[in-house]
């Protein structure tokens, strides 16, 4: 096991329900990263289609296998006829597939509808984290955060997906199907979280190195809580950073309201208020922050932040305490 053990956030109600149940299928049906546990109209529409497909495929599979077994062991005459081939191989598949085509294309139309969204967020995929910008009505940046989307439950959210390095894919299976982040393009994804809760997402298009460790969370909040959170996010950092931050961190990280304005890594202005660190990999507490600073290459091999091994323990402790306090 890794010393800095990976972790899963504890905020989700559906997950705690699933935790006590061992059967994998049941877990899949209740997971916080599962397409079979839909938590939005968009994901529900796909999940219904999925069950229809699973049921249909199982039925067809059973029929074909029974026919094959009959052919080998019972040799019924009708099964050897040309008509059997034409009916089983052409007529029935054509009927079934035509129906399915119409059904799924209609369903796709419903999923790509473009009404007005009540919240617009831009997500930029980076090797191996997510830059998240909340946008104002005019499209300007309202505030920036990372690896976490908080959304008001019951409201429609549009996520504008972009990348300035390689391909990524934005996937929160409980809320929507995946959509790629393609350099040079902006793709738009729409979902409405039905309930409050915490859902996990993960990059689904291989992006090199620690692609496996590029996760994020979507937290659906009651509208009032969301507004309070957004208000807090707009504020600058509460206190000035310790000298070690300016010396070592500011070149890559921004703390709004301070001279630290680096752009290569996540904006840390309110890092203490996030539920996870390192793109959904570590819990967010003082110990984990210290571990991440000193051994980020061990926790997430190949990521673009160096391990600050030689930083004095006092400075690390001071940094960790400071960052934890940035709520």
């Amino acid at each position: 096991m890794r010393p800095a053990c990976m972790y899963l956030t504890g905020a989700a109600a559906p997950r705690s329900a699933a935790r006590d149940i061992d059967a994998p299928l049941v877990n899949a049906l209740h997971g916080i990263q599962s397409a079979l546990n839909p938590q939005s109209p968009q994901a529900s529409a796909i999940a219904e289609l999925a069950w229809l497909l699973i049921g249909g495929a199982a039925a067809i599979f059973a029929v074909v296998m029974v026919l094959a077994a009959l052919a080998v062991w019972r040799h019924p005459r009708w099964l050897g006829s040309r008509n059997a081939i034409v009916i089983g191989g052409i007529a029935v598949p054509m009927l079934v597939l035509s129906g399915l085509l119409v059904h799924s294309v209609t369903r796709m139309g419903g999923l790509t509808d473009r009404g007005d969204a009540s919240l617009r967020v831009e997500v930029v995929g980076k090797q191996w984290w997510w830059r998240v910008r909340y946008l104002t009505a005019s499209g300007a940046t309202d505030f920036e955060t990372a690896n976490e989307l908080r959304v008001p439950a019951g409201s429609s959210v549009e996520v504008a997906l972009a990348s300035d390095d390689v391909l990524h894919s934005f996937w929160v299976p409980n809320l929507a199907g995946k959509l790629d982040l393609v350099p040079g393009r902006v793709n738009r994804l729409r979902f409405t979280a039905t309930n409050t809760g915490t859902w996990r997402g993960q990059c689904a298009e291989y992006c090199g190195g620690p692609h496996a460790l590029m996760a994020f969370h979507v937290i659906a909040l009651p509208v009032a809580d969301f507004e309070r959170w957004a208000e807090r996010q707009r504020a600058p950092a509460a206190t000035p950073p310790p000298p070690a931050f300016t010396a070592h961190c500011a070149v890559c990280h921004t703390l709004r309201g301070t001279p630290a304005g680096g752009d290569r890594g996540p904006d840390l202005t309110h890092v203490g208020g996030r539920i996870a660190l390192a793109a959904g990999i570590l819990p967010n507490n003082r110990q984990a922050i210290a571990t991440w600073i000193t051994s980020s290459q061990h926790v997430k091999p190949g990521n673009l932040m160096p391990s600050f091994r030689t930083l004095p323990a006092v400075a690390v402790a001071e940094l960790a305490a400071y960052l934890e306090g940035l709520e």
Binding site: Y7, L8, P24, N27, A28, G31, I32, Q33, S34, A35, A43, I46, L49, A50, L53, A57, F61, M65, L67, A68, A71, V72, H75, L79, G80, R82, A84, I85, G88, G89, P93, L97, L100, L101, V105, R107, M108, L167, S169, P173, G177, K178, L179, D180, V182, P183, G184, N187, R200, Q202, C203, A204, E205, Y206, C207, G209, P210, A212, P301, G302
Partner: protein, 838 residues
């Protein structure tokens, strides 16, 4: 179907003694170290299958390493760097070094005997393709051991694979290694097309041709049309990596999705390229095991052709999640679903054949039944992922990993094992053990389902593919552990199979175990390296069932060509549709040229990969030298008299023009070139569509006098070659006219080259794609010039005249093709921007 008529035998009388010994001597494999020069299909086929199976085992070991890493959550046995290389190599080796080569190899091994030919029409080309593949593949695999293995995934999506994000040689190994192995696949495909269309036994019309030959014909045509797309794609990416031509860089007007279009235009047909030959094998095994002709043979053939056709229209279903607008996606969804129908036809035809007969449950039958189970399931999940909204969830998850393994293991590996058990007695002194075979089947069937079925659940439960580790608590742990256990069950099955092969397989064409199944097709005739003693007349689809005494008559030389009248290796060229004998084709004997050429071609590409440019160039020169040496021995002198093959048929022993096998090979090569060029045109238009802003206005284009001059020079060069043809036909020397054609073509190309000098290929995608066309134009002109110069040299050496003229004819048709292609290029580069300018 069989029109049973008592045909008179072509050579009814007793044959003179010593003919069989003569055939044996002529077709004997070289001994000792010279065995490496062997070219006969029986040997090359076995070596080829063996090498491909070796890569199957190696890639399987990589899979075991991955499954071990994923057995438990948060495992740190394998880190991301190695894991990323493992899955890249596993996919790449399985697809490019195992799946395609092994079916091509089965074609090399089986086709000549199945068609009643003595060998494939270009045995040295098979040898070249095999050795190039084997050497290149081995070096490619070895890149793992020195840390140079690629890590871009088997479809190598840029920008991750561009130099900026993946510096070092690793991705170059993929690009040059695989691009090169594709060339070997194309060489094999040309061989197979000409073999199937031109070397069938007399009377074997297309309708009587065995299903496997039909499948291989469709397979080879698909390779010809699809593989150039990936060759072009790898060339573009290598140009971007090495010289910074921004085809895939968005800031300069390129687009990463261009790669995905080109790759999947190849990549999806590739799946059917793998499946169709396997389906063809099943269509051979099922009738034998049921003791009945295949039901609805014509429908099954139609299904093969329809699959090929449709498979070119559904590449975008790999790109449903890239944000392409819904309306165009719906078209590809429809095509993706439609392709299920031809597979349905075949499945029901096999079921119907079983229903008509008494089924023998031998090991090949078990594997066929296992194939039906796994493949039908994989096909059904294929329909599921074709439903676009569902794909948005399933894409790039373990659901897709499950689906593709069901399709490939079901659709290809199980039929292949069925084929190994079925055809082992054809190529070995002993068949494989039925008792051990049942265990092998049981382990593979249980293992495959245990490994891959749970992955369906895993994917829908949120696990993406290509992750080197995962967190506990997401409901994935137990499923992963089960899957890993399954992988080791598969490994046990493969190991058991290898043990049985080691015990039982003793290669022999002469003393093979023979027709142990009571099959109906020609490959089960007794024979030797020369295939059959005499070449039978075929009157139906299952000659051994329908023509009593056929084996004995063939063996005693009562059919065509019971001997070797020209004293060397030979086979009968027949007409493509009706298979009437046309020419007695003399065939080459072993020599070192193909092997030397293969070794140095491989060395050229591999040294280029590690940027040892001068050494690579030296190897390239040796390779070209060996190829020219080989080419020099082509087109042997015509024989004055026609040769008697029996039955009153006398065949010329020399042919040129459309009757000759060389003309056919060149025509197919031109089709390959046209497909490559079409992909380049697609790239040009696509890049324009994505970023029309990087295209210059009419005023910034080269003056229109450039393309006009270039076109006039090129057309004049074609006319000059035409006049060379006239001279040759009159018996005069064509050399001066050829020389004029060369000068004119070089001047024409030079004009075009000069017209684009002001454009920087590194500045924009426009510049890059313009220079791509210049590069392609230069390459084709260079090849045409080499062929033309070669023909001139043949004339000077006295090896080219009005009768003996195959090298000239090949140069000539290629020349006209290159000129036509260049004119299209001029129209595109100079006409299109003027047309499209606002």
């Amino acid at each position: 179907m069989s029109d049973e008529r008592a045909l008179p035998l072509p050579n009814p009388g007793p044959r003179p003694a010593g003919e069989v010994e003569e055939l044996r001597r002529i077709w004997a494999a070289p001994k000792g170290l010279r065995f490496l020069t062997v070219i006969n299909n029986n040997y090359i086929g076995v070596l080829y299958v063996g090498a491909a199976f070796l890569f199957f085992v190696l890639a399987g070991i990589l899979a075991l390493m991955m499954r071990t890493q994923l057995a438990v959550a948060e495992n740190d046995l394998v880190g991301p760097t190695l894991y990323n290389r493992l899955f890249t190599m596993h996919g790449t080796v399985m697809m490019f070094l195992f799946a395609v080569p092994v079916v091509e190899a089965m074609g090399v091994l089986l086709l000549p005997n199945m068609l009643g030919a003595r060998d494939l029409p270009f045995p040295r080309l098979s040898a070249y393709a095999f050795w190039a593949y084997f050497i290149g593949g081995t070096v490619f695999f070895a890149s793992l051991f020195v840390g140079w293995a690629p890590a871009g995934g088997w479809f190598m999506n840029p920008p991750l694979t561009t130099e900026y994000f993946s510096p070092g040689f690793n991705e170059d190994f993929w690009l040059l290694g695989i691009g090169f192995i594709e060339i070997s696949a194309i060489a094999g495909a040309i061989e197979i097309i000409v073999g199937v269309l031109r070397t069938r036994a007399p009377g074997m019309t297309l309708a009587r041709m065995p299903l496997f030959a039909w499948a291989m014909l469709v397979f080879a045509v698909m390779i010809i049309l699809a593989f150039p797309a990936v060759i072009l794609a790898t060339a573009l990416l290598e140009l971007e990596r090495a010289f910074h031509w921004p085809f895939f860089t968005a800031e300069a007007g390129g687009d990463p999705l261009l790669w995905q279009h080109l790759f999947w235009f190849f990549g999806h047909p590739e799946v059917y390229v793998i499946f169709l030959p396997a389906a063809g094998m099943v269509s051979m095994i099922v009738p034998t095991m049921a003791g009945q002709p295949l039901a609805a043979q014509r429908l099954v053939i139609l299904a093969l052709v329809a699959t090929a056709f449709l498979s070119f229209g559904l590449w975008v279903h790999h790109m449903f999640a890239t944000g392409i607008p819904g309306i165009s996606l719906a078209f590809f969804e429809a095509a993706s679903m439609a392709v299920a129908i031809p597979s349905g036809i075949q499945v029901f035809a096999w079921i119907a054949t079983f229903a008509r007969g008494r089924v023998r449950l031998a090991v090949p039958t078990l594997f066929v039944l296992g194939f039906l189970f796994i493949f039908v399931l994989g096909g059904l999940t294929g329909v599921m992922v074709a439903a676009i909204p569902f794909d948005w969830q399933a894409h790039d998850t373990y659901f897709v990993v499950a689906h593709l393994h069901y399709v490939l293991i079901g659709g290809m590996v199980f039929p292949l094992f069925a084929a190994f058990y079925y055809w082992m007695p054809y190529t070995s002194r002993f068949p494989l053990s039925e008792r051990v075979g049942r265990w092998v089947f049981g382990l593979l069937f249980a293992g495959a389902n245990l490994t891959f079925f749970p992955m369906h659940v895993l994917g829908l439960a949120g696990m993406p593919r290509r992750v080197y580790t995962y967190q506990s608590g997401l409901g994935w742990d137990a499923i992963n552990l089960a899957s890993t256990a399954g992988a080791f069950v598969i490994a046990a099955g493969v190991l058991l199979f290898l043990v049985d092969v080691a015990r039982r397989f003793r290669m022999s064409a002469e003393d093979n175990a023979g027709d142990v199944w009571g099959a109906g097709t020609l490959e089960w005739l007794p024979g030797g390296n020369y295939s059959n003693r005499s070449i039978p007349v075929v009157t139906g689809r299952y000659p051994l069932w329908e023509q009593p005494g056929l084996a004995k008559d063939v063996e005693e030389g009562r059919y065509y060509l019971p001997n070797a009248p020209t004293g060397t290796r030979e086979t009968i060229l027949t007409s493509p549709l009706e298979a009437t004998p046309q020419v007695l084709m003399r065939m080459p004997v072993p020599g070192w040229a193909p092997q030397v050429a293969a070794f140095f071609t491989a060395a050229f590409f591999m040294l280029l990969t590690v940027k040892l440019v001068w050494l690579a160039a030296a190897c390239g020169l040796v390779a070209v030298g060996a190829l020219l040496h080989w080419g020099w021995s082509l087109d042997p002198p015509p024989l004055p008299d026609a040769v008697d093959i029996g039955g009153g048929i006398r065949l010329p022993a020399y042919a040129s023009g459309p009757t000759s096998q060389a003309w056919w090979a060149m025509a197919i090569l031109m089709l390959t070139a046209a497909s490559l060029y079409a992909c380049a045109i697609f790239s040009y238009l696509y890049l324009w569509l994505v970023a029309p802003g990087t295209w210059p206005d009419a005023s910034a284009l080269p003056r229109s006098s450039y393309p006009v001059v270039s076109a006039v020079l090129l057309v004049a060069s074609s006319a000059a070659f035409g006049s060379a043809n006239g001279s040759l036909a009159r018996g005069a020397t064509p050399a001066p006219a050829i020389a004029a054609a060369i000068v004119l073509a070089l001047a024409g190309f030079g004009t075009e080259f000069a017209s684009h000098l002001a454009v920087d290929p590194r500045a924009s995608a426009y510049g890059a794609v313009v220079h791509l066309f210049v590069l392609l134009g230069g390459f084709f002109v260079a090849v045409a010039v080499v062929l033309a110069a070669f023909a001139m040299a043949r004339r000077l050496a006295g090896k080219l005249d009005r009768v003996r003229r195959v090298t000239f004819d090949n140069a000539r048709i290629f020349w006209h093709y290159v000129v036509a292609q260049s004119l299209v290029g001029l129209l595109l580069l100079h006409g299109f921007p003027r047309l499209a300018a606002p």
